[in-house]
């Protein structure tokens, strides 16, 4: 097997943003958080990611604002470096090499140019111990410096960043670990230790989980496993310390935070309720319930106006002074298990997978952004450990994306199983799925597979579900009942069985004329039109675990994988085995846009990928050890634009892209070198104004501005002669600054707008065109909708003319122009149509 150098497995998006507590900048405009190997800068108002600060080669373990300059930020990483960034421009200022992996780090205003890092202690013992080390950052102008002045402060600390806090602006540092609270005073260079007993009957419940220090008072708040919060005072004495206890949480307190003025204490835990305690009046509490998932970190902006909580479902919520959620930054939710397979939403081309408990998440692969969560279970989620919850276990889209079928199940105690099959219709108006039919207990046992029939006329009205109760059922969209108020709903059309065997999987052929259902080692082929059993195929021993029909030119083939490590290909015309090969295929996939198939095989601890055509004996592409562990979920995602790759080995990536989930729940994909280069190039071009969201509108205008800039630079003489295109800027200004409801109709504005984007060659032409334009637009106002098309094409014609008549254009300008024209203006068409 040849390793193809140009195709590479890359990590695709969806890295954790809740790994470390986020940081809000002084002006409350930006939010910084560690995300994988980068630091992401989000706008707190628009929720858009503005910069990604890339440079670390290891996991970023902490983000801190530089105490002496609030426009700069430190980040630490497991790669042993601390980097200083300018987050407004996204520039790396300084890299400081420390040389040890940093697990968390701290800084305070009192200790200038000193940061405190937590690193592992060199020890022979197996159990890793950590220590807090003060690092003096060398003052030099160099980009890359090495820190050598290291001095240990505390040993035996918890690497969790919530376990250490500075008190009173850096006078002392409090650290908690297990059952011990240690307070170190920098002035006295003395530390006090306080121990708690494991006095609870159940033991270990008094364990500290987090610590926070009051910014002004001598008060330390600690959170505990059993949900209690203790407020420690008088801790600069060995014996006379006191503490008071607050108790509201029913399970471990995961984060504590004081507001900057010290008037309130915030706490959060598994209950996903943000609790605000009044300092000194602890009986008074405010709650912000139902934040969606367990709270992992709480931070407050330096001016105290914004709170921000990170949640276990990879979400950051921005809260305005404990009353209103103002923004939600949601990353790809990574559940413990993806029980429903990876899918593509045919409409939005989004990746669909399990997200929050009881939800399906729609994740845009192009934009690396979570589009929305669809609530499948529609029940109040009880945040309590050990509770059996409803889980979405199966989901299927029909070919046109207008129907979604989901199965949710809940295992209760021993025997009882609650099953619901739900069918969701896509609502054009709300652009989301609306529940159409709920079928409670569709089968007696777990549903093993589900498949929509895909017909050419995209009128899918048949769904087949197979279950462990030995039946498969066909569900059909029934015509509206004779009462008018009800729409169509789904009814059971047929129940099939084969010798009482358990059906494991089912698949429809591409044209929807055949249904294959695998009953253990027998594959039965049915005709969905008459529900007749046409033929049976089998290849014992070993139950069939996956079935796929070939597509396009290979549609006569049916492929199946068996538990006895065989990949079989049957020819449906002759009803006989075409070929079979011995492979431990864990996942068999068919590309919906070509006849290619992909098989993930598990072999000695790692997974190999084979891409092949059923009709050809040689695989198109093979990749050894794409990742360690088994791959059980993968999907082909159609590309937005086709790649023009001529190399044989990468041709299968032209139309669609292959995504898969590893055992560690990382989303991976395959890219070609050419594609990577292109992405890199495009990302360099986009120099983005801060805090302005990236919208198509912005891209258009940003380009335009750039273009003008270039003009100015290249031929300033020409520029001087011209009168700065008054009508152009005016039209854009008009479009952007006037409220939308007082603007004239879009049809009127469109031609003006498009005209303004074109490069005019000479003044005379300009004026003439302008005059024409005005006449045209006047005409257009009276014109009907149909003539809109023609008028829209006219400016393009004009554009073509200008291009051919303009030898004065430089190459760069021409390229720029081409790019502008290539840009997707379809949204404009959409505007016109509406």
């Amino acid at each position: 097997m040849v390793e193809h150098g140009d195709i590479r497995v890359v990590h695709r998006g969806g890295s954790k943003i809740n790994f470390r507590d986020p940081v809000i900048t002084h002006d409350s405009r930006f939010l910084l958080c560690a995300s994988g190997e980068a630091v992401k800068v989000f706008s707190t108002s628009t929720e858009e990611c503005i910069h990604e600060l890339r440079g670390h080669t290891g996991l970023v373990t902490g983000v801190l604002l530089r105490p002496s300059n609030h426009l700069q930020v430190y980040s630490s990483s497991l790669d042993g470096t601390v980097r200083l960034w300018d987050f407004t421009d996204g520039i790396l200022i300084k890299t400081c090499v420390i040389g040890y992996p940093i697990y968390s780090f701290y800084a305070s205003a009192k200790h200038e140019n000193v940061i405190f890092i937590v690193t592992s202690m060199p020890s022979e013992k197996r159990a890793e111990r950590f220590q807090l080390v003060a690092v003096h950052l060398p003052q030099s102008g160099d980009q890359l410096v090495e820190a050598r002045e290291l001095s240990a402060v505390l040993s035996g600390v918890n690497p969790n960043p919530g376990a250490i806090a500075f008190g009173r602006g850096g006078e002392f540092i409090a650290s908690v670990n297990d059952l011990q609270l240690e307070v170190y005073f920098f002035k006295k260079q003395k530390s006090y230790r306080f121990f708690l007993k494991e006095d609870n009957k159940k033991g270990g419940w008094n364990t500290f989980t987090c610590v926070a220090c009051h910014p002004k008072d001598d008060c330390i708040a600690t959170g505990h496993e059993d949900g209690k919060i203790r407020l420690w005072r008088n801790f600069n004495h060995k014996k006379e310390y006191t503490y008071s206890t607050l108790h509201w949480h029913h399970s471990a307190v995961s984060s504590l935070c004081f507001t900057p003025e010290g008037t309130n204490l915030l706490s959060g835990g598994v209950e996903s309720v943000l609790v605000q305690w009044r300092y000194n009046q602890e009986s008074e509490r405010d709650f912000l319930p139902r934040l969606g998932a367990a709270i992992t970190h709480i931070t407050v902006s330096p001016d105290g106006s914004l709170f921000c909580t990170s949640h276990s479902d990879n979400k950051i919520t921005i809260i305005q002074s404990c009353v209103k959620v103002s923004a939600v930054i949601q990353g790809l939710v990574k559940g413990d298990s993806i029980r429903a397979d990876l899918m593509m939403d045919p409409r939005s081309k989004a990746l669909v997978l399990n997200g929050k408990p009881g939800h399906l998440q729609f994740y845009s692969l192009q934009r690396d952004k979570l589009l929305y969560n669809l609530d499948i279970v529609q029940q109040e989620y009880i945040h309590e450990s050990g509770l059996q919850q409803f889980e979405v276990v199966k989901a299927a889209f029909d070919a046109s994306g207008s129907w979604l079928a989901t199965v949710e199940e809940r295992h209760q105690k021993a025997a009882e199983l609650e099953l619901n099959l739900k069918l969701w219709a896509f609502d054009e108006q709300t652009q989301s799925f609306v529940l159409n039919t709920t079928i409670s207990a569709p089968h007696d046992a777990q549903i093993t597979a589900m498949s929509f029939r895909q017909t050419a006329d995209s009128q899918t009205t048949l769904l087949v579900s197979t279950s462990k109760d030995g039946h498969f059922k066909a569900w059909q969209l029934a015509a509206p009942a004779h009462t008018e108020d009800e729409g169509p709903s789904w009814l059971c059309d047929f129940v099939g069985a084969y010798h009482g065997l358990v059906p494991e999987c089912c698949s429809f052929s591409a044209d929807g004329s055949l249904l294959a259902v695998a009953f253990q080692e027998v594959v039965t082929v049915w005709s969905p039109a008459t529900w007749e059993l046409l033929t049976t195929l089998s290849q014992p021993p070993g139950a069939v675990s996956d079935l796929c029909f070939g597509r396009l030119s290979c549609s006569k083939y049916l492929l199946g994988t068996t538990a006895s490590n065989l990949l079989c290909c049957w020819n449906l015309l002759t009803c006989s085995l075409e070929w079979s090969t011995s492979m431990d295929v864990r996942r068999l996939l068919v590309d919906p846009l070509s006849e290619n198939m992909a098989a993930f095989c598990y072999q000695s601890g790692s997974t190999d990928l084979f891409v092949f055509k059923p009709s050809e004996p040689r695989p198109l592409f093979s990749h050894k050890a794409v990742c360690s562990g088994k791959v059980t979920q993968a999907v082909f995602a159609p590309r937005e634009e086709m790649l023009e790759s001529c190399e044989e080995s990468s041709q299968w990536l032209n139309r669609s892209q292959l995504y898969f989930l590893t055992q560690q729940m990382d989303l991976m994909t395959f890219t070609t070198k050419a594609e990577e280069d292109r992405v890199l190039a495009s990302s360099k071009q986009l120099v983005i104004d801060d805090s302005v969201a990236m919208t198509p509108f912005y891209l258009l205008l940003g380009k335009h501005r750039q273009q003008q800039q270039e003009h100015r630079d290249s031929d300033s003489s020409l520029w001087a002669e011209r009168t700065a295109l008054p009508q152009t800027s005016a039209s854009i200004k008009e479009l952007l600054q006037t409220p939308a409801h007082v603007l004239p109709s879009t049809s009127y504005l469109c031609s003006m707008f498009v005209q303004s984007l074109l490069i005019s060659v000479s003044d005379a032409r300009e004026e003439k065109a302008h005059a024409e334009e005005e006449m045209e637009s006047e005409k257009e106002e009276e014109d009907s909708e149909e003539e809109m098309e023609s008028s829209r094409s006219k400016p393009e014609l004009v554009a073509a003319a200008t291009e051919s008549d303009a030898p004065a254009l430089t190459k760069a300008q021409a390229r720029e122009l081409r790019r502008v024209r290539k840009l997707d203006h379809s949204w404009l068409a959409g505007l016109l149509d509406s």
């Binding site: 912000l288 319930p289 139902r290 934040l291 969606g292 209103k324 959620v325 529609q378 029940q379 109040e380 009880i382 309590e384 050990g386 509770l387 059996q388 409803f390 809940r410 209760q412 009882e416 529940l435 159409n436 039919t437 709920t438 079928i439 409670s440 207990a441 569709p442 059922k473 009942a481 004779h482 009462t483 009800e486 709903s489 789904w490 009814l491 059971c492 059309d493 047929f494 129940v495 099939g496 069985a497 084969y498 010798h499 080692e521 027998v522 529900w531 007749e532 059993l533 046409l534 033929t535 049976t536 195929l537 089998s538 290849q539 014992p540 049957w570 009803c575 006989s576 085995l577």
Partner: protein, 528 residues
């Protein structure tokens, strides 16, 4: 911050008939007025003129009731024996009736004594009617003859002796004074023309004919006899059009709704069925307490009058639509509404900044308790009398939700005698309901576990527990029986399905038969 998601109340499929326009129309009657007559009510006839009084023939009397009175406005009692078939003339002034003593009597509706007596029949006269020219009377008798009489002279005009058995029903044409139809126990329906000596058309019904009815157009004829209702096309010479068999006892009476779109048939099986006259499907069904002998519909379907063998006359009046509207109008006109609506019709000016009011989420009582995790209280609210009896699905949904939260045990525990007996009552009522069984069995088991220590302390609870045990045992027996029946059905289906060989691939062992069986039990469907 997501809002609280309320408890999902399962919507169970409604058993029984679907709500259609017809059900709405025919359900829109008040509770029936019941009047006790002296004997079985054999005939009801509405006067063609307002105020549409109706004559009820029962035993030896004919009572005339006004449209709303529950007392007879008039009664004719001068019969020697059982009276039959009291019918109004088209002007509503004369009434004719047959009698067991073979004499036909003609009454003035305002008078008391018979104006004319028509003697000539030798046996009981069950059929009397006026012809459309208003001067002749048609009679049919158990002596197998039907006769036409002249009213002014009280003389017999013609006698037809074609039937070979009792003549029990008949009708005269409203459009032609010479045409009339008789139905007889010799299974035939005959159309006579007074201008000729013989019957014109003979139709064989197949059973003794109990009632005949002409459509207003008089092109179609409906006959009832035995369990069948048959429709004949007279214009095609008496060709049978439809045969309806929807009753399981003899059909005794027929009626048409005022617009001619619906046909009603009444039967000894105590049902009145309503058919659509376009497709002759049953669109509605009324149940009565006893076998029905006679049925009549007031003009405009204002009331349905039914006479039964147990001598009860049942009158259903149509609900007045204005009544219900007025009630609704009164509710809307409450003064608080005006206060409530104050300022709502204020139109914001151009520069006004509209502050939208936060939408308050409305939660049911039990949801409010659930939101606060007050599990016992939530169960208490769900067990309130009204919900428990009227909407058991709500109680069951709350129990299910508590179970899902893992707090059902806590919610069920700690109840006193009254609370426990309330719970047990609910279980006894609903445990065997197939829709609720899965949820309630869990709850019942928990209750037994929790309260096993207090058994024997309260006679009320003990009695209920015994009842519950009884119920469960009965249900188990019943389920066993059902499974047996299911097994029998399966054998029958299996033997009736044709055996078919399925082509199978050469490799592997021989594969057997198809087991594509039709869905015997449809799953519960719920449309949201």
């Amino acid at each position: 911050m997501a809002s609280f998601k309320p408890t999902k109340i399962q919507v169970y499929p409604k058993l029984g008939e679907k709500v259609t326009q017809d059900t709405l129309y025919w359900k829109n009657y008040k509770a029936p007025v019941q009047i006790k007559e002296f004997g079985a009510v054999t005939s009801i006839d509405f006067s063609p003129v307002t105020p549409h009084n109706f004559a009820v023939t029962a035993f030896t009397r004919i009572h005339i009731y006004g449209p709303f009175s529950q007392e007879p406005v008039k009664s004719f009692t001068r019969f020697k024996d059982t009276a039959y078939c009291g019918r109004f003339r088209s002007d509503g002034q004369l009434l004719v009736a047959g009698c067991e003593d073979s004499v036909v009597r003609l009454f003035d509706v305002s008078g008391k004594v018979a104006l004319r007596l028509f003697k000539g029949h030798t046996k009981a006269v069950h059929l009397t009617d006026f012809t459309s020219d208003r001067y002749q009377i048609l009679t049919g008798s158990d002596d197998y003859t039907c006769r036409l009489w002249d009213i002014p002279n009280a003389t017999e005009l013609t006698t037809y002796r074609e039937h070979t058995d009792y003549i029990r029903c008949g009708v005269t044409s409203k459009l032609n004074r010479d045409l009339f139809i008789t139905g007889s126990y010799d299974h035939t329906v005959k159309l006579f023309d007074a201008r000729v000596e013989k019957s014109v058309i003979t139709m064989d019904h197949g059973q003794p004919v109990e009632s005949v009815l002409l459509y207003p157009s008089e092109g179609l004829l409906v006959s009832a006899g035995g369990r069948h209702v048959k429709v004949w096309d007279l214009l095609k010479g008496g060709q049978p059009l439809v045969s309806l068999k929807n009753h399981h006892k003899t059909v005794t009476s027929l009626a048409l709704s005022s617009n001619g779109q619906r046909l009603l048939s009444a039967s000894l099986d105590r049902h009145v069925k309503v058919y659509s006259t376009t497709n002759y499907k049953v669109v509605h069904n009324f149940d009565y307490a006893a076998s029905i002998l006679s049925l009549a519909l007031a003009p405009d379907d204002e009331s349905i009058v039914v006479g039964m063998t147990n001598s009860i006359l049942s009158i259903k009046h149509r609900k007045n639509q204005e009544d219900s509207k007025e009630i609704a109008g009164q509710q809307r006109r409450r003064p608080s509404y005006r206060v409530f609506v104050k300022g709502k019709n204020y139109v914001p000016k151009q520069d006004d900044y509209l502050v939208s009011k936060p939408v308050k989420q409305h939660l049911a009582k039990y949801d409010k308790q659930l939101r606060r995790f007050n599990v016992s209280k939530a169960l208490d609210t769900a067990l309130e009398t009204w919900i428990r009896f009227r909407k058991p699905e709500i109680t069951v949904a709350v129990i299910k939700e508590l179970d899902r939260r893992g707090t059902l045990q806590n919610a069920l525990a700690g109840r006193n005698e009254q609370g426990l007996s309330q719970l047990l009552n609910f279980l006894i009522r609903n445990l065997v309901d197939a829709r609720f069984t899965p949820v309630l069995v869990t709850a019942a088991e928990m209750i037994l576990d929790i309260y096993q220590s207090v058994i024997g302390q309260s006679p009320v609870v003990d009695r209920q527990l015994l009842r519950l045990q009884d119920l469960v045992e009965k249900e188990i027996d019943y389920q066993k029986d059902l499974l047996e029946v299911l097994g029998m059905l399966d054998t029958m289906f299996a033997s009736s399905l044709p055996r078919k060989e399925v082509p199978c691939s050469g490799i592997g062992k021989s594969n057997g038969l198809t087991q594509g069986e039709p869905s015997t039990s449809k799953p519960q469907l719920q449309v949201t």
